[in-house]
Amino acid sequence: MTPVINANNSDNKKRWSQAIAFTIFKMMSYAVVAILFLILGFIVTKGIGVISWDFLTLAPEEGMTKGGIFPAIMGTIYLVLGSSLFSFPIGIMSGIYMNEYAKGNKVATFIRIMTNNLSGVPSVVFGLFGMSLFVNTMGFGDSILAGSLTLGLLSLPLVIRTTEESLKAIDQSYREGSLALGATKLQTIRKVVLPMAFPNIITGLILSIGRVSGETAPILFTVAAYFLPKLPTSIFDQVMALPYHLYVISTSGTDVEASRGIAYGTALVLIVIVLLVNLLANALRTYFSKKVKTN
């Protein structure tokens, strides 16, 4: 009799401890989701009233307590474009080299380790480096060029990694089939491998745009201007940028309290950019994965 009762007891205990543990885990997971919605909800409710056509298309006025954020939006667009021009070609090419030419050998391992190390370097160190190399040594000054190059280097590891992962996912038999038909390696990559990997690569590129548009520390000393109502005319001009603008008006503007509204609006615009980028990336991923399957 006794052993049976014990077994029942320990069974009960087991069931209870499992129920309690799982409930705790579930609640903690939902707490994390709640945090995200708290942040989003807070900024959306406070910022939505500020957003208007004028806010998006006018320059800041009266010590940045009135007016809009148009120059900052344009500055961020310039920086995203500039850094993409630099990081996309180089990143994709190194990804191709690592997976198609040097797969599994020491060169690829070395590049991978260096890329991982670079992705661990804090963004403020990129700022220091960009200031020392591009602004001072190369003499670009505080400019779109210096800022774009710094941001490009920062996003390079992300581009390389997504390219490599996307290429890795393509079955070896496609390459062998192409080569067996007499195509050269380059032709195989251009006509078979890259088109197939394209959807995943483009998703990675879009995510890297999201990352670049929110970075502040690397542009502090390489391009960002405190207040510059007119748009840049060359790549050697300074620009305003959204994340820097938010930092400035929420901490050290001429009148922090009076520019709170603008700050909420700017934060909302930044968050909307991130949301759009994520949605776009996901949508493209689903769209292309369907298309590839039907082909």
Partner: protein
């Protein structure tokens, strides 16, 4: 021709592949080059000298000693290795206490001679003088060749880059501030991170997981300056009220913001580790009569130990290097912290806050690059240890 193009393309791809390595090399080169300039800089403000009486046995003063003398914290020469003799501190503007304006001359043309005389007649004097007022035959000891020592930087307890005559570039308060904030962050976020990872990997249904994963990715995508702003307008006032503090900008505020920011990293890495547990091990445990929960904490968590450690280390790395959010919520007081409820200043925040006002090539500029080096070295150590931890497989 075709083969030539193939080779050409391969070469171009290889060059692209080497860009990250070259960047790391250049970062090391430029950071360390600018940082090493710090140790060639004089301890006192450039263009000035400190003059002592000839009989004074003190031949050198460290940066920190000079600061303490000028703050009247050291008032006797025996505290810095000299004789028992009170220190008589004289700045250029104090010269009028010893001489009338006529004696100094209408154009101050007599200052060099009088300064020399003053130094010769006062045994306890320390005279802070611009170089142009030093007479050709100066009757005293001139301290002007001392440079900032590595000990002043690595062991320095104070960070006052603009204090005169001797700027203080002590690493300790900033390093400790960084560690306090980061450790606080990881203590807050690790339990949550592991719980969510377990939930996603083992407990939740596929449908819930498909909702939670994008949410966590989104959390990783929010720019740090937005986290900083949120911290500034929500978390800081909240902490100030809850703990009844004079200011809400504290190390704890930084830790809370960083904990939220480190969560996605920790969750993703830990979940990936838990998913690599072989199915056979799980099934063996369940077949022996263990409950799902027992299997999780007796089999799955021990098996993915190295992955969870990597997650924690990566989380710390993310926290140590984070700049903007911390800069906005920690109050930026460069003092050695004693509790989490005091304002602190971290290394990245210091760089971001001060680089704009530091003159290129000056000691302050060099010191900020030295901080960058420290940060770079810390993150390299973290990258390497993650590589090391994750290469070690579970063997028991």
């Amino acid at each position: 021709m075709k083969r030539f193009i193939e080779k050409l393309v391969e070469g171009a791809l290889l060059i692209s592949g080497s860009v990250t390595s070259i960047t790391i090399l250049l970062i090391v080169l430029f950071l360390f080059k600018e940082a090493s300039g710090l140790f060639n800089k004089p301890v006192i403000e450039e263009g000035y000298v400190l003059a002592l009486n000839k009989s004074n046995p003190v031949k050198k003063l460290t940066s920190y000693q000079i600061k303490q003398i000028f703050d009247s914290e050291i008032t006797n020469w025996d505290e810095v290795g000299g004789k028992e003799e009170p220190i008589e501190l004289v700045r250029l503007s104090d010269m009028t206490n010893y001489y009338t304006e006529e004696e100094l001359g209408a154009e101050f043309e007599n200052i060099p001679a009088k300064a020399s005389e003053l130094t010769a007649t006062h045994p306890g004097i320390v005279l802070f003088l611009p170089k142009q007022y030093v007479a050709k035959k100066f009757d005293g000891i001139l301290l002007d060749h001392e440079t900032i020592q590595p000990g002043d930087f690595f062991g320095g307890k104070e960070w006052y880059p603009t204090s005169t005559p001797s700027s203080q570039f002590g690493l300790l308060p900033l390093l400790l501030g960084t560690l306090w904030v980061s450790l606080g962050a990881i203590l807050l976020s690790l339990p949550f991170g592991i719980a969510v990872a377990v939930y996603l990997a083992e407990i939740s249904s596929m449908r819930i997981r498909n909702i939670l994963k994008p949410v966590i990715e989104l959390l990783a995508g929010i720019p740090s300056v937005v986290y900083g702003f949120f911290g500034l307008v929500v978390i800081v006032p909240f902490l100030q009220e809850t703990f009844n503090l004079p200011v809400g900008e504290t190390a704890l505020a930084g830790s809370v913001v960083l904990a939220i920011m480190a969560l996605p990293t920790i969750i993703t890495v830990a979940e990936d580790a838990m998913r690599t547990v072989p199915r056979a091990m799980k099934e063996a445990s369940l077949a022996l009569g263990a409950s799902h929960w027992q299997t999780i904490y007796k089999v799955i968590i021990p098996y993915s130990k190295s992955g969870i450690t990597s997650a924690a280390v990566l989380g710390i790395g993310r926290a140590i290097g984070e700049t903007m959010a911390v800069l906005m919520v920690t109050g930026n007081a460069a003092v050695i912290p004693h509790t989490l409820l005091e304002p602190v200043r971290t290394i990245p925040a210091t760089i971001a806050a001060e680089l704009g006002e530091a003159a290129a090539g000056g000691a302050h500029y060099n010191a900020l690059f030295a901080l960058g080096c420290i940060l770079f070295v810390i993150t390299m150590i973290i990258s390497i240890s993650v590589e090391f931890i994750s290469s070690k497989k579970y063997n028991k």
